[in-house]
Amino acid sequence: MLDHLTFDQLSEEQKYDHFMDRINRDEKIEADDWMPDDYRIALIRLISMHGISEIMGALPEKEWVPKAPTLHRKLAIMAKVQDEMGHGQLLLRVAEDLMKPLGKNRDNIMSDLFTKRLKFHNVFHMASPTWGDAAIIAWLVDGAAIMSQTMMLDTSYGPYGRALKRICQEESFHAKHGESLVLSLAEGTDRQKQMLQDALNRWWDALLMFFGPKSKQETGHTNVDKNIKYKLRTKTNEQLRQEFFTKYIPKIELIGLKVPDKTVRFDEESNTWHYQDPDWNEFKQIVSGNGPKSDDRIRLRQSSYENTEWVREALGHVKTAVV
């Protein structure tokens, strides 16, 4: 920075250069710091989508709280659902601080969700019809989420990094919970094994889609390049998907399950997994709010929001009375 000027005296261009210098020096950007609109918008998109996905992700899991087979499982699933909601709280808080200068807040996030302008992860648009699905979600969907969240721990935006650090600590419990569910079914009767295999078959494409398209050729649009430039993330979608294969395919096979893609193989020469691409048009449809359970889940979220309005109102009155 020009030494004789204070930060406020810099031109917009100098501020931008100063900002990029900070990014390149791996400094952390804080909520009140100057940032280009481009960076702010990219963060809002990424973090509000992540935050809402945590909340929408709790919905398919909570369906299993009353139906869990033992008290221990019931308690563990309840704890996990509560964690996911807590993660949503953290992330929405981070998003809100970024939206504040634009005159927006949490109400805008909720209304954008209800009108399908705000997207959430493809996996949370899907049905979870059996206990096997609950197990596959907890093991592999959470496993995939942990990989992408861990990748962003060192993100350039300080508040997001701090939220992710908290989230990842709790996710390590979720990972064990998921393994425990899957192992119990894999050790069980033929029917239980079949239930697990059926669930894996149902979830395989959704898991591949979770990481997003390889490039904009698949869906016509991607934010990965920008997010890497601003050091919001460090790996591409495909790098993460490859790591997922390396970590989980051997385990899937070890417990006697079959990956429902006959073309999957590891190519030693190129050190990459070959696999059948999911239908990226279907992906676009799903994340646009046209998945099998999209409407049900959004309706559930909306009615819950409306049904609890009186609580927010009542608390508001207490405050007015006290102040």
């Binding site: 406020d8 927010r312 508001g316």
Partner: protein
């Protein structure tokens, strides 16, 4: 007052949450949350941040009660060189003492030589 400040969402206020893990430990910043009042802020702090983590004390502070540094002020902190306040600002002293010691030792050697 605060309600005007938050503009779009008069119901919530922003709170910053601090906690102590051990009786004799430092107070540590945790995160922020939205709540309609202090009491709810404490309840939500417990729910949001201490479902597993141990805490012996929790503080909540309205964000607008906190005076933070502006970016200019933060930048000006970076420029300050306070080596003169710290021992590491005086790292050259040992060498300089050694120089005198060597001079002295050489001096006595020379005298010895002269005498001989």
């Amino acid at each position: 007052m605060d309600e005007q400040k938050n503009g779009l969402n008069p119901f919530y206020e922003e709170f910053e949450v601090f906690s102590k893990k051990k009786e004799d430990g430092p107070l540590q910043y945790q995160f922020s949350l939205l709540a309609p009042n202090e009491e709810m802020a404490i309840v939500l702090a417990k729910e949001n941040f201490f479902r597993r983590e141990k805490a012996v004390d929790i503080w909540v502070v309205r964000r607008n009660a906190i005076r933070k540094l502006s970016q200019s002020e933060k930048e000006s902190l970076k420029k300050l060189d306070k080596h003169y306040r710290e021992t590491k600002g005086y790292a050259d002293l040992n060498q300089r003492w050694r120089n005198f010691k060597e001079k002295q030792d050489n001096g006595t050697d020379e005298k010895k030589v002269e005498k001989a």
